[in-house]
Symmetry: none
Subunit: 320 residues, 2 copies
């Protein structure tokens, strides 16, 4: 059986199609891994790329990808809704099959070294790859963003893990990490009122007293003209999707605001969907089959969880 | 308007009624504050006292109370289920009305000084009154209990905040603190299945990934023949009661188990009830009046939150 990782680089261009295509070009049609998707978001001005496959071919392809971003993006002229510190903002490695977390930490170190040696772009190691306690969480590293990083990186506390105390003048810095699969999950609210999304975000996110493994915030989607609670679920086993969705629905009741739909950014492990479908099917008094087909998972997920823009390709295991 | 605090001293005798009466006698029928209750627990061999009123009269009455405990309890011959380090084990001060947390910290310091000057009993300041990070949590201070404290207090790390590096030979040491009110809250489940209460406890409590300020566990009530999720809400502003109750109701749905009622142990701040009633009234499309009477608070709380054994005396402010 092949050794499989997921790698989800995010880069800071989500509007100009020509530039987006130029940056992802080195990741297309390569042996050993699949470019599962690249999802530009114009509001965020950011594209999330999902790669699944063998580690070594992915590492090799990441180099021309980073070089393309270096060539096409100048962070001094970039803005968008999503916080960011680099042209390629993050590169996380995620063990999927026959790969340990320790190996993913090693891959993070290897690509960080190559990027510094080749492009002189400094990087911070985060999550399981972190070398200091205050570098575990990406938002702590990214605080100040590209604009603030010029000074922050000179603080001895924030010496990068690879590179010297100076950001790359147009690229910035990268966060490179290893972690369990996180779920980037957004819940739509049928209102334009950002205060409501903000209040509900505070109810669920850890930093305001909510669930331990949830990072969340409000966002207004210009293109769709409604707000979202946008979140990362950092541990889907301890904070299952259904529990967060139902808590959001419960909080929305006081505002008489509907929760019509939700979406995933990137992929989701099959088990995360099964755990939540099990809740809804049991609550509905229906039988739950943990060996159900991908087709059934998709059908039930749309019905009970209310995903929009969702199909089988969103499930990690369906891409292997 | 009077300045009001709550003070909840715990002392290490819960069996001998004569001794208990002798120790609480200095707290009875005093001007300026009310002895709301004293609840001995024979298994714990401990009594929890609740005082509500003006700070200065409470501070004055605490001195003869501590002296009575010093006279009647010898910790060398005391044992019970509850961990303890002193004859009076803890004295927390809780701001209720027109008193700041900073003032409660000052009261903690003042009584600690008086107790040392008068009785030569050393004390550790905890919670908001803590002077070091590892003294914030009472269990960390109390670790080793009375028996271990003889040596622990000689460790420079554990020099008491008031007093010298020696415990009182029969009394031990006291933890004196300032904190916001905590709510001891139990939710009834219409089942005898402790596994269900256990699973729901894990969904809501911080230690298993749940809400940040919730400690919870399962318990089977022999006298009532059903299980409960029993919990402490450590910060009712960030983890309001309604949010926990609704999450428990949501989790119970998968087991098809009713959540018929709930109860408080000890008192609850009026604001904690108002915050939750506001949620339920807003969700129901009814108007919310933050100046509603105690009678209305009790009526709505029974209706929406489902309290049993609940009346006005459970509300801190109704005892003022």
């Amino acid at each position: 059986m092949a050794r499989i990782i997921e790698c989800v680089p995010n880069f800071s261009e989500g509007r100009d199609k020509k530039i987006i295509e130029a940056i992802v070009a080195p990741l297309k049609n390569k042996p050993g891994f699949t470019l599962v998707s690249y999802e530009p978001d114009a509001d965020y001005n950011r594209t999330v790329v999902t790669l699944i496959g063998e580690p070594e071919p992915i590492l090799d392809a990441l180099m021309p990808f980073v070089e393309a971003a270096l060539q096409h993006i100048d962070m001094n002229h970039q803005s968008g809704e999503h916080p960011r510190m680099g042209a390629v903002d993050v590169i996380p490695f995620i063990p999927i099959e026959d790969v340990t977390m320790e190996e993913c930490v090693a891959y993070a170190n290897e690509i960080a070294k190559r990027i510094w040696d080749t492009c002189h772009i400094p990087s911070f190691l985060y999550a399981e790859a972190a070398t200091k306690k205050n570098r575990v969480k990406l938002p702590t590293i990214r605080k100040g963003e590209f604009e603030g990083m010029k000074d922050k990186i000179k603080d001895p506390e924030w010496t990068p893990d690879y590179g010297t105390n100076e950001i790359h003048p147009t690229f910035g810095v990268i966060g490179i990490g290893a972690r369990i699969p996180l779920i980037a999950y957004n819940i739509d609210l049928a209102t334009e009122n950002t205060k409501i999304a903000s209040s509900i975000s505070r109810a669920i996110r850890f930093s305001s007293g909510g669930f331990r493994h949830i990072q969340a915030g409000p966002v207004y989607l210009d293109s769709r003209q409604h707000v979202q609670v946008t979140m990362n679920i950092l541990d889907y086993k301890k904070n299952p999707l259904y529990r967060i969705l139902e808590t959001v629905r419960m909080e929305a009741r006081r505002y008489h605001v509907d929760v019509p739909s939700c979406e995933l950014v990137g992929l989701i492990p099959k088990q995360a969907l099964l755990d939540s479908l099990r809740y809804y099917l049991e609550a509905a008094g229906e039988s739950f089959d943990k060996n159900m087909s991908f087709e059934d998972i998709v059908r039930y997920s749309k019905h009970y969880i209310g995903f929009r823009d969702f199909d089988q390709d969103k499930i990690i295991e369906a891409n292997i």
